[in-house]
């Protein structure tokens, strides 16, 4: 299981990496492994307001459909259209090309409630 050092993690296996008040979010390597081959990413709307812990979108793998929760609160300012066209990017590169959305943080302090990389590694230790 790969862990991205500079990201913070939700218990539901999403990650957020903040830079200048905007967080890039995606799902962790652990999550993509559990999902299996992702073949569909549901729409995410630019401009939509999301809350930490609420559904950001859903993904479908050959095995099942799964909800993806936003790890932070704020406004969606960018969506990764490439991952919607090529969902397999989530499996290939969950912390890079497989990012889902950029969210302008309305409550930056929420990041402190997410797990650090070492804590997440411990949390998902098999």
């Amino acid at each position: 299981m790969k862990i991205q050092e500079d990201a913070r993690y939700a218990k539901s296996d999403e990650w957020a990496r903040a830079e200048g008040g905007v967080a890039t979010v995606g799902v962790s390597d652990y999550a993509q492994q559990k999902l299996g081959d992702v073949v569909f990413v549901g729409e995410i709307s630019v401009g939509a307001t999301v809350k930490a812990g609420e559904i950001l979108t859903s993904v479908e793998s050959v095995k099942a459909a799964s909800d993806i929760y936003s790890p932070v609160s704020g406004k969606v300012v960018a969506v990764n259209h490439e991952v919607i066209a090529k969902p397999e990017l989530i499996n290939a590169d969950p912390y890079g090309a497989g990012w889902l959305a950029k969210i302008e943080l309305s409550a930056p302090e929420e990041l402190n409630t997410l797990m650090s990389a070492p804590d997440y590694a411990e949390y998902r230790k098999e």
Binding site: G36, D37, K63, N91
Partner: protein
């Protein structure tokens, strides 16, 4: 999980790093690495499946042929020795108890291979219809089974057995040895590819599994889990009991006229004749979805105007098709509701997704004859 069974190959799956799930009362591998990678290996090279969970029922005795015919949609007397036939047990109402394979050794000896989830039910049903001088034996514990499927299956198997598997016809079987272990080998499968199903003694299963993996490695063989087994069968629209077939569906509705021989008497026949007489109310259609969202079993299938579509049936199976690169559905719908080329709508997780009615199967099986017409 109480009383969950394991096949003789359980330890091999764990060793290969498989994700194990409970299926039909067994702990089975759903995938080893990736469902799509395994699927593609089977379509382009070969896949190896543990199907030891399948149930076996032996029927022997002077009246075996008469009895098997009476409980099957197909007349067993039409089969030659060492021929295999796909058939169904029906309830008197004409709906499906199970779909299964008849292996005919002779008119006095048959092997019936049924779905794992239905094994107990089938055994009780078969025994409950016993007729004449026959012995019915629930024999699933006597058999392990592996399926070797794909365009390279023949090349892999022919080096492992003295039998002439190259000349073995589709839906034919023989008794031989593979890796010097006694086996039954049939040219059958559930993937749409050419391939073989190999029945052996449970104590030989680990050896055969590993010997086949080794022999297949140079050809690109991969172990395939239940996930790939499902996507492979789905692309060629082979029926899955519990989804596409059940005790509410008749074979006339599921497009399976080809597994009924009408010149013999069998349980459920009069109900089928009555349904034919008054008109078959539903049909089983294929749908290609416009998006990659996946319709799942039980979702509604709608048709009509996009603003106010009405329900015409439901999804029996739906999945992403790795070879075709899109999401598809199989739906049981009212007979006259739609035709090929029409648009249907399937609500998926709160959003209405559109699809086009297309011909079944989504892709033609390469193995043997066409299953559907």
């Amino acid at each position: 999980m109480a009383n969950v069974l394991r096949t003789p190959l359980y330890d091999q799956h764990v060793k290969l790093g498989a994700t194990m799930v409970e299926f039909a009362g067994y702990e089975m591998p759903i995938q080893y690495t990736s469902i799509i990678e395994e699927h593609n290996a089977c379509r382009t090279a070969a896949g190896l499946f543990d199907v030891s969970h399948m149930g076996e029922i032996e029927v022997e005795g002077p009246d075996a042929e008469k009895f098997v015919s009476y409980i099957s949609t197909w007349d067993a007397s039409l089969l030659e020795p060492y021929e295999v036939k796909y058939a169904e047990f029906l309830y008197p109402e004409g709906t499906v108890v199970d779909d299964f394979f008849i292996y005919k050794y002779s008119s006095t000896k048959f092997l019936l291979v049924v779905n794992a989830a239905n094994y107990d039910k089938d055994l009780a049903w078969v025994a409950g219809h016993k007729l004449g001088d026959v012995t019915i034996t629930g024999a699933t514990a006597k058999y392990a089974e592996i399926a070797l499927q794909g365009p390279k299956a023949e090349d892999i198997l022919k080096g492992m057995t003295p039998a002439d598997v190259v000349e073995l016809g589709y839906f034919r079987f023989l008794e031989t040895t593979v890796g010097e272990r006694r086996c039954i080998v049939s040219r059958t499968g559930y993937t749409g590819e050419d391939g073989f199903e190999i029945y052996c003694r449970p104590e030989d299963a680990v050896f055969l599994w590993n010997a086949t993996l080794d022999a297949g490695k140079p050809y690109g063989l991969l172990p395939n889990g239940l996930g790939a087994r499902d996507t492979l069968r789905f692309e060629v629209c082979y029926w899955l009991y519990g989804h596409d077939l059940d005790n509410t569906i008749t074979p006339l509705e599921s497009g399976q006229n080809f597994l009924i021989s009408w010149d013999h008497d069998f349980v459920g026949k009069s109900a089928l004749l009555a349904m034919k007489e008054r008109g078959v109310p539903r049909k089983w259609i294929g749908v290609k979805m416009n998006s990659r969202a996946i319709p799942r079993n039980g979702f509604d299938c709608l048709a009509g105007s996009p603003e106010a579509p009405v329900k015409i049936g439901y999804v029996t199976s739906g999945n992403y098709c790795p070879t075709l690169g899109g999401s598809y559905a199989l739906c049981m719908v009212e007979k006259d509701a739609v035709k090929a080329g029409d648009t249907v709508f399937i609500p998926i997780r709160g959003k209405i997704e559109a699809g086009i009615v297309v011909k079944r199967p989504f892709m033609q099986p390469k193995a043997g004859h066409k299953h559907d017409r």
